[in-house]
């Protein structure tokens, strides 16, 4: 009985719909293309998108509070370039990564302070940081990609595997697991939800709202920075122009996953499923030799339809309509 109830509750969950779509897409592409349903293809696909997955998971927590970050692209580019430069200087990669992460987190610190202390809207503050960060990324590498002088082990992080399992996917899984725990079982997730749902109530309950938001901006910056390191390592280059639409992909995945821009709603799992849907559509259409341009168009259409559906209809409502269709309500049948 309880299991049945839980199952019902899960089916009413928006994530269930997304999961169904994800499974359907997998089946569809597997039938359409021979090369799709291969372990190697999945490894490839997930290695490529590990950076997106973990940044989106962290940004979900931030968006739950009703804030968002447009500067993730710039942070990613900056961090990738910085990491490569530090590597060419002969600094051990682990130290290079730590320094890069610290520098990347400054993005979050500045964003967070502008939003909480100076009351600038997150859109403008992070847009400003997007320009500044992008400029700094170009500046420190002189506008040129860092390709030469990199140590031989520079790409190891992203190309290695442990017992045949690619390391970047493991990093993404671990990071997502930590963020999932943080969102569901710690005070961070609870406070983020409380702030986004009813800021006044959260403040009255004694939560330091500004500090939570600041912390989450820094968290997102840290993941974006890590994403930069991973991307640089994957392509073996510190490229200041890499992943131009990264922040849009992040925001799209989060919103498709059911998090609202105004906060108070959303799950890490939803974001991850949504991100996987986007990734699989991209990869699958590639496998079918469909032009990359069609993929952009389809992405736009999916975005509009999914959000319309998400905001206008809930799955529960659909079930209700279906029931009504099957047995329409009879007029005037007093129960009491």
């Amino acid at each position: 009985m309880i299991i049945q109830l839980k199952l019902m509750a899960f089916m009413k969950n928006q994530n269930f719909v997304l999961l169904l779509i994800l499974i359907a897409l997998n089946i569809f592409f597997s039938i359409m293309s021979n090369s799709f349903f291969q372990l190697n293809n999945y490894f490839n696909m997930l290695t490529q998108s590990s950076a997106l997955l973990l940044t989106a998971a962290a940004a979900t927590l931030l968006m739950k509070t009703g804030n968002f970050d447009l500067s993730t692209t710039a942070n990613l580019a900056f961090s990738g370039v910085l990491y490569a430069i530090l590597a060419t200087w002969g600094i051990p990669l682990i130290f290079a990564a730590v320094i890069t992460l610290a520098a990347g987190m400054c993005f979050g610190l500045i964003n967070g302070l502008l939003v909480t202390r100076y009351n600038i809207s997150p859109f403008i503050a992070t847009l400003g940081m997007m320009f500044i960060g992008g400029g700094v990324a170009l500046l420190i590498c002189g506008g040129q990609s860092i390709r030469t002088g990199l140590p031989a082990n520079f790409t190891v992080l992203m190309r290695a595997d442990i017992l045949g399992f690619p390391v970047p996917i493991m990093i993404a899984i671990i990071a997502i697991f930590i963020l999932w725990v943080a969102a569901n079982f710690t005070l961070i997730g609870k406070y983020a939800m409380a702030i986004g749902s009813n800021k006044n109530a959260a403040a009255l309950a004694g939560i330091n709202v500004d500090r939570v938001i600041l912390g989450l901006f820094i968290l997102v910056a840290a993941t974006a920075s890590l994403a930069g390191i991973m991307t640089a390592s994957r392509i073996g280059t510190g490229d200041p122009r890499v992943a131009e639409f990264f922040f849009m992909d992040v925001i799209v995945a989060i919103m498709l996953g059911g998090t609202s821009l105004t906060g108070g709603r959303g799950t890490v799992i939803g974001t991850i499923i949504a991100a996987l849907i986007i990734i699989i559509i991209g990869n699958g259409l590639n496998m079918l030799n469909i032009l990359v341009f069609w993929q952009t168009v389809i992405k736009g259409l999916i975005l509009i339809f999914a959000v319309t559906a998400n905001e206008k209809i809930s799955f529960t409502q659909v079930i209700l309509w279906l029931r009504l269709l099957r047995n329409p309500p009879k007029n005037s049948c007093p129960h009491k």
Partner: protein, 496 residues
């Protein structure tokens, strides 16, 4: 009992805002384990008083003693820590969390940010089961009814060891069944020795659960009395004070044509409303807060209803403000800031907004015409502003209201709905606004005034409709010797 019998002693509390004295000379005691009600019409100072007591605002003058000790909270948390919790009108509860999470929100003990199980959990469980055994701690708050959410908030206060609970209009958004539930909860709390300060405008509730009542009027305390010794109509009289009406001047028209006829209108809050309106007539709706006046205004301005509305003998229906305007209605809304003014825009830009054609010349908006129109109304209403370019948000409440009325007058409609037209307006301006309304009627326009001020109603209106609990109770012809005692009995719910 070793401690004093009075939980709270209020001594000569006052509050000044720039230019206004919101509260002055309020002194009374609250006895332990009683339900102490505070009543008063809008602007009487109830909300200012709550803010002072709960630490949201400091008092300008006076002292409060809590359990015999001086108590001067600087912050809401000060009051909570000393045992005073408040349920505000808007619920301060997070819909997206469970009841358990809400109860511990902000107070959690944690290890590495993982919340530890609270010792208070079983206490909360007992408390909540005591009030309502259909809800459990793991329920999501958004699935609860408003009354249940209030129970959650009460539980949170009890878990935090509160000894005084302030409730600000807890039943305003509740249905009858839910209200009964909350009444039961309050009685239950009193049995356990809790002190409750209860603010409400629903007199029946006050008489049902209250032990003592403090009446505020215009920022001053009128009296503190034991409720057992009082009748509802006594209380209303004390709330409203002596009625000093302007002389009623009947409007000049012949009132020979029915402009508007409303038949059998019902909504969630209204029951079977019938009335009509003649040309050149000023019709008044009077009743206490929550009697349903605003709802009547709203259905005439596009809200949903069942029933019929006839305009000039023709059945009409509309469900938007635009539709209402097209049928010749215009509304001066009660919520001036939210629904009336365009705060960031100048007076000149505000006034023509309902009728841009009045300032268009050859299809273009003429700055000159707009300026002349603004100057006309600024002069006519004596709007106190440095110039017509003044931003409306920076004007005083009374002047903002004049701008809203000017905007509506410029629409040139034939039925004017005026919801609390002079709320927050000083006496001089009030008189002017009344004269404008009379002039309008004498020019053949029909006017409905919705007001919770009896002086205004009997000074202004040709006929008066008395409302109570969503119903029309009586329709009176006005005259200079109208029986105000009778009116107060009716709106207080006394049967005829």
């Amino acid at each position: 009992m070793q401690r004093s019998d009075n939980v709270i002693e209020i001594e000569n509390i006052g509050k000044n805002f720039p230019g206004v004295q919101a509260l002055k000379g309020v002194s009374f005691n609250v006895k332990r384990g009683t339900v102490h009600c505070i009543v008063g019409e809008n602007g009487a100072g109830k909300s200012t008083f709550i803010k002072i007591l709960t630490g949201a605002q400091p008092a300008s003058i006076g002292k409060i003693k809590l359990n015999g000790k001086f108590f001067a909270p600087h912050h809401v948390s000060d009051a909570i820590n000393q045992g005073i919790s408040c349920l505000y009108q808007e619920l301060n509860i997070v819909d997206e969390l469970t009841i358990e999470e809400n109860i511990s929100l902000g107070q959690e003990k944690h290890r590495f940010l993982f919340p530890l199980k609270s010792k208070n959990l079983s206490k909360a469980k007992d408390i909540i089961a005591d009030f309502d055994d259909t809800i459990s701690l793991s329920d999501q708050v958004k699935s609860l009814s408003v009354a249940q959410k209030q129970i959650v908030e009460i539980t949170r206060a009890l878990v935090a060891d509160c000894s005084v609970l302030v409730m600000d209009e807890p039943t305003a958004a509740l249905s009858i069944g839910e209200t009964t539930k909350i009444m039961r909860v309050i009685k239950r709390l009193r049995e356990t020795g809790m002190t409750i300060i209860y603010i409400s405008h629903k007199l029946s509730e006050i008489f049902e659960i209250g032990d003592y009542v403090t009446i505020l009027r215009d920022g001053e305390m009128v009296e503190t009395k034991e409720l057992k010794t009082m009748q509802q109509s006594d209380l209303v009289r004390l709330m409203l004070g002596k009625i000093v009406a302007e002389n009623y001047i009947p409007s000049k028209g012949d009132h020979n044509k029915t402009v508007l006829e409303v038949k059998n209108i019902s909504t969630r809050k209204l029951k079977n409303i019938n009335f009509n309106l003649k040309n050149g007539e000023i019709l008044g709706f009077y009743g206490l807060l929550g009697a349903g006046k605003t709802e009547v205004a709203e259905i005439l301005y596009g809200h949903k209803y069942t029933g019929q509305i006839y305009k000039n003998g023709k059945l009409i229906s509309f469900n938007t403000a635009r539709g209402a305007l097209q049928h010749g209605f215009v509304l001066v809304p009660e919520e001036r800031r939210e629904e009336g003014i365009f705060g960031l825009l100048s007076i000149q830009r505000n006034i023509p907004m309902m009728n841009m054609d009045s300032v268009t010349r050859h299809g273009l908006v003429s700055n000159k015409a707009e300026g002349e129109l603004a100057d006309k109304y600024i002069k006519m209403f004596q709007i106190a502003a440095s110039s017509r370019k003044h931003k409306v948000a920076l004007l005083s409440g009374g002047n903002q209201q004049k701008v809203v009325i000017a905007k509506c007058l410029n629409r040139d409609a034939d039925v004017f709905l005026m919801d609390e037209p002079t709320r927050g307006v000083d006496i001089g301006a009030k008189q002017e606004i009344h004269n404008i309304i009379r002039d309008l009627a004498n020019n053949g326009k029909s006017i409905i005034v919705f007001s919770s001020e009896l002086q205004e109603i009997i000074g202004l209106c040709d006929r008066i409709i008395l409302m109570y609990d969503g119903m029309v109770r009586e329709i009176l012809e006005n005259s200079n010797n109208i029986d105000t005692d009778h009116i107060m009995d009716i709106v207080a719910g006394k049967e005829k």
